[in-house]
């Protein structure tokens, strides 16, 4: 693409408003190994609310890679929520990771699952997800995903969802702020439902309008 007049770079000195200020690229024309990530980011930037459009895979795109790259993007964008929680979620008020009253979630990032405070759980889960999704052992390549590693995606999704749940039930204001900017929870819920990465019982944030009453009573 460097020969073409359009060079898609954020050069030093680029203003914030001009970031990623280049024309969109067709997926078919992307020739880098990170094409899927580029494409997803491009779609998100264009319209974060167009959840279904973002989640629509291009033709002949390997589904494992598609799911993997989306999950990476989710973990990356969740950082924004984590930053907000860092300010608002204190270890002495949220001593445990809970969503509704029913469950206490133990942090799996330690050798033996530990009852971390909510903010610790959030950070550890995101760090753990980063390690797992980047680990050479399970995901050595970004253009092909092994069948054996696909199950890892499910467990990552489950843990990551709890961050949404905790924020929704305990830090509603932060959650709403974040959601209105990024629509991340809706996208995530649609994503896991579409690809069956989580069971319906676990999806307790009433983010999709039709689920609102049913989910609350189940939880």
């Amino acid at each position: 693409m460097t020969e073409a007049p359009i060079i898609r770079r954020n050069r030093p000195g680029t203003k914030q408003a001009d970031f990623y200020g280049w024309p969109d690229e067709l997926f078919e024309e992307m020739d880098s190994t990170l094409a899927v990530q580029q494409f997803i980011q491009q779609m998100v930037r264009r319209n974060p609310a167009a959840v279904d459009a973002i989640l629509t895979a291009p033709e002949q795109q390997d589904e494992g890679v598609w799911k993997y790259e989306h999950l990476r993007q989710f973990c990356m964008e969740l950082n924004g929520l984590a930053v907000k929680l860092q300010l608002g979620c204190q270890p002495d008020t949220c001593t445990q990771m809970t969503a509704t009253e029913q469950w206490i979630f133990l942090c799996a990032a330690h050798k033996t699952p530990k009852e971390c405070s909510a903010i610790d759980y959030t950070r550890h889960t995101l760090d753990g997800a980063a390690c797992l999704l980047n680990s050479n052992k399970y995901f050595p390549s970004r253009v092909s995903i092994r069948e054996s590693s696909v199950s890892k995606l499910g467990s990552v999704c489950r843990r990551v969802y709890r961050i949404f749940a905790h924020a929704y039930f305990h830090h509603r204001q932060l959650f709403d702020e974040f959601e209105s900017e990024t629509h991340l929870c809706r996208r995530f819920t649609t994503f896991v439902t579409k690809y069956g990465l989580m069971t319906k019982e676990n999806l307790n944030v009433p983010i999709l309008e039709d689920q609102a009453p049913a989910e609350e009573s189940e939880a």
Partner: protein
Amino acid sequence: MTITNEPDMSIQNHNGQANNLGVGMAMGAKQEVNPRDAYSVPGILHFIQHEWAKFELERSKWDVERAELEAKIAFLQGERKGQENLKNDLVRRIKMLEHALKQERARFHKLKYGTDLSQGDLKDAELDEAQEDAGEADQLIIASSDISWRQGRQLLRQYLHEIGYTDTVIDVRSNRVRSLLGLKENKDGVPAQSIDPVASKSDVQAKSASQNQAGLLAEDMLREAEQAVLANCHFLNPDGGVPVDDGDEDEEDWKSEEINTGKQGKSLGDDERDSSNMAMALKSLDFNFGNMSMVNPWDENSAMRLAASKDPSLQKPGMRMNSAHYGMEVNDESLEEMGLGELAQLTVTNEAEGMYESGTSKEAYSKMWNAKYTLRSHFDGVRALAFHPIEPALITASEDHTLKLWNLMRTIAGKKSAFLDVEPVYTFRGHQGAVLATCMNPTGEQCYSGGVDGTVRVWNVPNSNIDPYDAYDPDVLSLTLSGHTDAVWGLAFHTQKPQLLSCSADGTVKLWSPGSKAPLLQSYAAEPAMGVPSSVDFVHEDCSHMVAAYTSGRCAVYDLETSKVVMQLESNQNVEGGAPRDQVNCVVSHPTMPVTVAAHEDRHIRFYDNVTGKVVQAMVAHQDAVTSLAVDPHGLYLLSGSHDCSVRLWNLETKQCVQEITAHRKKSDESIHCVGFHPTKPYIASGGADALAKVFV
């Protein structure tokens, strides 16, 4: 009186009966003076006692001296024996080398006049034989030597096997020894006749003496070969003379040796079997000393002597020489192969890193960098990195809004042992946009980051050995400096003062003092024509200056106090500039010289003189925009990273590229964003758009 006084004194020192003896002495003295007066019994007794004591004393002294002298004698005898052995060894080696050399000469001579048939016939055979391993040559020597030697050798082999030296290792080592010997002789021989052969020989001897430790087998082989050669000496030196070009002090010794070996030779030499065995031994020797033919001085002497000799057994040596000559040629190749073999071994170990490297030039440089650590954890491109000043740790800043602290000592055992994966120790969360720049303070306690959100954050760096999954400590974020209104692209920390420079897309460069009450010290704005500052650095050579680079492609040196432009660094580019094509992506100041290095989007690296402001040198460094630069702490090398996926190491003196490393994949049109040197340890790192950071050692 004086005579008696001395023993008097000594006896008083050694014995307790001073008084008596003194009296006795006095009496004795009186006796001497007046022999008639004091012949009394007590006097006589005293005198005798005294004398006895004196004798005893002297006897003990003599005993002591004798013991000392005996010890000394033993020691000197031992030394002398050692020296003699050494001398004998060396002399033997001299003879052997001499002999081999003569053989070469003879062979060479024979070739000139010699029979073609024998050459042709034996060529193939010799090629085959010469191509055999040295191990087989060993075995040939074994066959020719005594049974005891063979047993001893096999025993040694067995021991070596037990230690773990396989046959190939033994062979390689012995070959190496030989090649070293051969090569040494080669070097000595090449600069023509004026070489002192004694010097070359003694060099070789010294070398060979030092090689003794290199391989037991090598020594054994040589010894056996020596014996065989000495036996052969008889044939080739009928006059027993030593070919002397210079006066040799050792001539006499050699002659005596010759006589000895002559006797040996006679005992062995008449046997046909032995001569054929010695032929084989000589072949192996040729394998050793194939290069000796390069030495000129021996030419006429040996050739003449050979021609003059009427010993019928010369036929065999003749043929041997011819064949061995070819053997020698092949041996050269095989010696080279041996040399290459060593090199081949070296490259094998490096093969794993081969795919990350392509050395484009082969001059002597201090080191080649190999990929070692891969830092995987970021979700998006790594925009900036900063090494810890002391520990083997670094911090990376990424477009995924986080910074991560990595400890290179905490690696994960992976399947590929050549490359180690590292997991982060800590993740700094706080920015609300991509983090674009980072740097550390000289103690490594604090690090600074700047991002798209326009904030500069000061973090307290946690200890590199903490548990990554520790409890959250909100105090890690020490300070947030807001002042910029747009993305912060560059950060630099002063080496001596606690001051931080930041440049931003809002057009300003700001100077901060992070610890103080009013952190913002200064703000420097440039003319709009200069564009937006894209990179800053403190001038290391002059601590009151800083250099800022702009998107217009120009750089300027500012005085920190007066905030005036001290010098504009012009290049010969399009002055209207401002086209993104020309902008400066990164600027670094040389640690010791008043030089500024700038990385341009137009693939060039330009060196500016701070004093004159002119371009000292401009070079096309990469195939695409150069994005980042780093100078090593000594100011000798420059690292540059580019969007063409390569990191290049440049020698600053010659401005030559000494190494190119291919690293990082492209995302959109971006590849490598940042490079860096560790200030105190031999590490270099690169960060790329593929969310990886790599560390090379």
